[in-house]
Symmetry: C2
Subunit: 420 residues, 2 copies
């Protein structure tokens, strides 16, 4: 028994080593049915831990109805809802398919997926393409405008992006993130720098590969207007970094945090595929004009994978402008959030540093023991969806990962280690 | 006599008001002979205050030889130098033509110029297009590679950019700068954010207007590879902002700071077109591998116009990464530079704020009286050129505007106010 702490330290060091050794490269965009071999027709992947239709929140139901119409499985939203309630669709978490999705996180067969390959470990992770802001499916939007945009993404943007990425031989993401951190991004609520830097890299290749000039202009315009375009790339990257860190026997490091709008789910490196789940919290934040906390859905999405690898709330020190945007206090205190997350992580990333903190690395490797010991909850920067289907985003804020998940995870970990 | 201080305060308030009321818009790119009606053939505009060939530094002589070959006035660099020494070219400062240029600042008839229109005051200012980094004419480079690039800029990039800007109806720069300040740019040694944001805006219009796909890809690639592309836009913007602030009777505010590699020149709003000149200082900075201070040319260029309007060294608090790049101390102390510049300025720009300083506006309106009273010299972030012709950039650093310029300017100002 006495060697257990040492075994955990060694396992955690290995988990962190794998995270820091990652070499994520955005390599392609491919249709989901090609990318995900186990994704069948009438299967809908969603954000967060597993959940049945009956317990799903409003925006997730709205998105499911919308995506069923988009895929041609139903003619109307009402029909789609009835089919969903009758069990016509199979629901699985994105995380069961090496995939992630923001907010409602819908992934179905015909959507184009971003492909991030972690070349240091030979694994690939996937995420749909960001739809832009406002009324979009990831926030529960599902009307004709939303579905038309998804069709354009499927037919024009996805193929164009894929061709450009193949032409470039991929875009290495580690240096891009390093640069973004020196430009005010934390890669969750703020992706302006990385979205712009990525477009700079892609634009010449798009010009070479997209022969229709109107389509080319539309693609450049769509990406250029979306300050959050990079979020989905960052998420697929986060998953590609955390995947090799899964399954290290004896490791108490968190490899997944995610939410489905009802439950918050956590997975640990050393406890295989078990989910540790607790009711999700409400984000604390600022609301767009005309909305208030009464309109808000509880926290949602797989996007917290970026916090798992040291970005988002953990990298707040790099992004003082985010602090104000999400109503989390004076901008000059941004570094306090990062320092606080340092209390529950076992290392820093020497390649992802924060200039204003004299190039301190972002805190990386959340140790479930430290979370439970200190009571410091992981801080997640997040968007806020309307609680009703079809409305969309109403604000942005910060949410704390529920302590109960980590307490359960620690119990599960202890059991696995033969301690309890 | 007793009302003189009050008159100066009122005049300075008016000067600052004009600077802050500016509405600079990047509207076009046009050949210099069209943009500048008084720019004649065989006339060469240069950076800094007036200077004769005999007193010019190495890189400026090298650039002059190069640009004379580029314009077809000489067949070889040697012939061009001999012609220059024999008085074949007329030299005038860019600033005498509502124009600015970085480092050597060459402006001649066939070069395409960026046009920034200050729509609040109906004035236009101009600057050549940034050539990229390394061996370039602004740092004294003049070989075939440098001249071929200038030809491509003249024949392909300039016309393409102009068409895109006209298609967009111009790009408003005030909000772009505001965004850049929240992304780590100070718009002198760091323009990564604004270069990227500008490309995002331009790319769709370029796709619509440049019909040759290879040319389009080359343009997108050239802009995308140049982190300093925006510098020249910022400079033309700075000039367009300071122009309406010139000529306010009784104002002790600085409207021009510039250097020709030999002399540093200052102009004051209330003292018309008189130059106050002193020997330029050596930048303190970091050198590229293989170079040292022994290789450095004294400070050079019209780029200090960005400091005149509150950017560059004055906005260092927004750009902690610059502090390290130019070897000016720990990045976490970036705000100290901005606070220090607050001691010699009469206001802050409420639209150009620094998030990490809780949205303090950049210090704006350098009062020559405050400079002389406090002895605090305006801080300028700058590139460092090799002192020999033809080599190019060898480093980057920070340089202090020589106090003697401001002492002379204060004497000139007192004379103008009838005090001495």
């Amino acid at each position: 028994m006495s060697d257990i702490p040492a075994r955990i330290e060694a396992a955690n060091a290995e988990t962190l080593r794998r995270m820091l050794a990652a070499d994520p490269v955005l390599v392609d965009v491919v249709p989901a049915h090609v990318a995900l071999p186990r994704l069948a027709d009438r299967m809908i992947l969603h954000s967060g831990p597993p959940i049945a239709w009956e317990r799903m929140c409003g925006p997730m139901r709205g998105a499911i109805a919308g995506v069923a119409v988009f895929e041609g499985w139903a003619k109307t939203l009402d029909e789609a809802e009835a089919m969903a309630a009758a069990g016509a669709f199979r629901f699985e978490p994105n995380h069961h398919h090496d995939c992630v999705g923001p907010m409602t996180g819908m992934t179905t067969v015909s959507q184009p997926l971003l492909v991030v390959e972690n070349r240091a470990f030979g694994v690939r992770a996937f995420c749909a393409i960001n739809e832009g802001l406002g009324k979009v499916m990831r926030f529960g939007g599902n009307d004709a405008e939303v579905l038309d945009r998804l069709r354009w993404i499927r037919d024009v943007l996805g193929p164009g992006l894929g061709a450009a990425l193949r032409d470039l031989g991929g875009v290495p993401l580690k240096p891009l993130i390093a640069r973004g951190l020196s430009m005010g991004d934390e890669m969750h609520q703020r992706n302006i720098a990385c979205s712009s830097l990525l477009l700079r890299l892609l634009a010449p290749a798009l010009a070479r590969k997209v022969s229709d000039r109107a389509a080319l202009a539309a693609i450049l315009d769509f990406i250029g207007r979306n300050d959050q375009f990079f979020l989905n790339v960052a998420m697929a990257m986060g998953k590609s970094i955390s995947m090799p860190a899964e399954g290290v026997e004896g490791s108490s490091i968190v490899t997944v945090m995610c939410r489905n709008g009802t439950d918050f789910g956590v997975r640990l490196s050393g406890v295989g595929e078990e989910w540790f789940v607790a009711p999700v919290e409400m984000p604390q934040g600022l609301y767009f004009p005309g909305y208030s906390a009464a309109d808000a859905n509880p926290d949602m999405g797989d996007s917290a994978i970026v916090e798992v690898v040291g970005l988002g709330g953990f990298a707040m020190g790099a992004a003082p402008a985010v602090v104000g945007f999400i109503g989390a206090g004076p901008a000059s205190r941004a570094a306090d959030f990062t320092r606080s997350m340092g209390e529950i992580t076992i290392g820093q990333n020497p390649e992802w540093t924060i200039p204003s903190m004299d190039y301190a690395g972002v805190p990386t490797g959340i140790d479930v023991r430290l979370v439970v010991d200190t009571g410091v909850q992981p801080m997640i920067n997040t968007g806020i969806a309307h609680r009703k289907p079809g409305v969309g985003q109403v604000g942005a804020g910060v949410v704390k990962a529920p302590l109960a998940c980590f307490e359960k995870a620690l119990v599960g970990f202890a059991k696995r280690m033969g301690v309890s």
